[in-house]
Symmetry: C2
Subunit: 399 residues, 2 copies
């Protein structure tokens, strides 16, 4: 069995191919990953612009005139042609271009208006309330870099430069297959008490969608070699990554581990010294990947996060969203094995740092998916770690 | 002008009405806010279940027998009727119910199999690898609470209990109106250089969608009293919250502030001692709200986060996603006013805490939306704060 660190290195070295992009309308771009740099085509603002409501003036007039004649009105969006000269001003509003000849805006609050004339009650410095050319950005500045996930600010900036069609990374297609003759799909009636309602299909689909992939839901396939072979083959033809759960352990009905090599896939690794999920298997066929996860709900979810999430991120040219962060143990922790352990914990931010505890978390088999509800996170213990004292700095994957 | 703290209290006291829920398919529930408690209908597992592949035995046999006869095979999902008695075992797989009479599972790795008989090479303690009834949860346990945003683990748990139709909070409808005669919509050709490409409509729409609301995009309306009045009236008939940008300052064309009261709405507050966005206005008509934001891109975005986001959260019965957290200033900060200031900053997590700096952030007017790109956050300075030294603990809103 390889170590967790080795397995992560191997995942980071898998050749995911060149980025595949598509153009989408801005309305569909929220949450997508940018596939191009967004570069400013011009300085912005393109002209000096008023930042307040007031009067556009020549600053030297403050010393020379007690009052200035109002030449007219320059509402925002107008194509003002009048020019400010010494002794006169033009009423100018937030967002209006500064009239030619003016260099300073004196706010409404700083003047008294009487019979077409303003008196300066409180002068302002040269250039006051004038947004200079390029205040926002300069021509050729990279505004948003390739690989950025588009949030509300990115959408607004794209709209502001009239960028309607956006080049984004295509969503990788991920097929999800749950294997096991004991599995019962949602909505299906049980035939006997030994059957288990499948949750993996839906947990993994939700993960794929949250991470920006497109899920091909392949449902459940029983422990039958031919049926598994067929379903995997269909999945490989349908998607970039095939993710399965179950069938990788040492039981007589664990067929997945035998079938993957028969599909013509090269096994990258099988078995990692981790808990949960030691039987996880990663394989490659051409440009496609198979990640065969264990069947228990907690194990399959954790191993998806460790092995599928970084692959998906790399395919889209973005950073992995599940990079570990540092937190402080609030209580002692008893390590149970000599493996790298991923333990469900609560993560709270308090007094400027993250704290880890295990209140309400059940110790038991790897079947307990409910441990991942709420503010759950995964605490990482290394192979060589022993029991940990309260106060220890640990690495945690925020979910 | 009221203080920021007072304005937040007033927002938190606005009567948002009883929660409105709807039932959606599990496939559409990811990211929605749960409107009911999810309660376990039975203990789970319902029966003792095998956690590994091995042989179901009676534990006392370890002391009495060197070898045990294999009665048969109990694959997962089977309706096993055979019974384990002293001297015999049943081969049992991960996920199978434990056969009647058995109490312990001895793993495959711990035995030698020969001619229908197992020899115990390495005994295990009583109850080994048996998942007890209720290991995951007990009947009547609240598995997921009302108000939880449904993530992958919640979706998996719901699938696991066959909960196909989920009661979630309805998405509040939010109309977005950008006002200003200078505004040019995306895709529209400019008629003169004084026109400004509108970004507010799309920044605010993206925020509404990210926060789980449904956006009614009302586009741009010029500085015309009648047209503004009509558009606001249509918006009030169409949605729960009307959000507008522009028209609330002191200029001659700032009509929104005059029109809102004429729509029969009660003004909750107008003007808050904050920077940016001091002219923000919140009003109520019946069960509906109007939040009139300033027109500058940075100001409207910040005031949306401060005043619309918490209202939206309350309408869905969830926590506000923009609650401030603590971070440490990496560089000194010069405060510019005696207002509560919300300054765009970079937020990095390093050495177990969040750090704030302003690298690449432009100081200028409130028009600079690009300051919110990347890992941006809003640093909060109180009215009474002065200049801050590096190392100061500050409150920050993560975006």
């Amino acid at each position: 069995m390889i170590s967790y660190e080795t397995s992560q290195n191997m995942i980071s070295l898998l050749p995911v191919g060149a980025l595949r992009s598509e153009r989408v309308f801005l309305s569909a771009a929220l949450g997508r990953v940018l596939a191009q740099d967004i570069v400013a085509q011009e300085d912005y603002p393109t002209h000096p612009t008023s930042a307040m409501d007031g009067y556009a003036v020549v600053h030297t007039d403050f010393a020379q005139h007690k009052a200035l004649g109002i030449l007219g009105d320059n509402p925002a969006g107008a194509d003002e042609v009048a020019q400010v000269e010494s002794g006169i001003c033009i009423k100018t509003f937030t967002g209006s271009l500064m009239p030619l000849g003016s260099d300073t805006l004196i706010p409404i609050e700083n003047v008294t208006v009487k019979e077409g004339v303003i008196q300066i009650d409180k002068p302002v410095p040269f250039g006051f309330a004038v947004r200079p050319v390029g205040e926002n950005y300069r021509k050729d500045e990279v505004l948003i870099s390739r690989g950025t996930t588009l949030g509300f600010a990115e959408i607004g900036v794209l709209a502001g430069i009239n960028h309607v069609m956006v080049s984004v990374a295509q969503r990788p297609r991920v097929s999800v297959i749950a294997t096991g003759s004991e599995l019962l799909d949602i909505g299906e009636n049980a035939r006997n008490v030994g059957q288990i309602r499948s949750s993996n299909s839906y947990t993994l689909q939700a993960l794929v969608e949250q991470l920006g992939g497109e899920c091909v839901q392949m449902g459940i396939v029983g422990d039958d070699k031919g049926a598994i072979m067929e379903r995997f083959d269909e999945a490989l033809r349908s998607s970039d990554i095939v993710v399965s759960s179950g069938g990788v352990s040492v039981g007589d009905y664990d067929f997945v581990k035998h079938i993957v090599p028969k599909l013509g896939a090269e096994v990258i690794f099988k078995g990692v010294n981790i808990k949960p999920g030691q039987h996880v298997m990663v394989a490659q066929r051409g440009s496609k990947f198979i990640v065969a996860l264990p069947g228990f709900a907690y194990s399959s979810t954790v191993t998806f996060i460790l092995y599928v999430a970084p692959l998906l991120a790399r395919m889209m040219g973005r950073e992995n969203v599940y990079e570990p962060i540092e937190a402080t143990l609030k209580v002692p922790f008893a390590k149970r094995s000599n493996k790298s352990e991923f333990t469900a914990c609560n993560l709270h931010f308090e007094d400027g740092r993250y704290w880890v505890d295990f209140e309400g978390k059940k110790v038991g088999s790897s079947a307990i998916l409910t441990n991942l509800l709420g503010n759950a996170a995964l605490m990482i213990c290394g192979e060589d770690d022993g029991d940990l004292e309260a106060g220890t700095l640990v690495r945690v994957i925020k979910l």
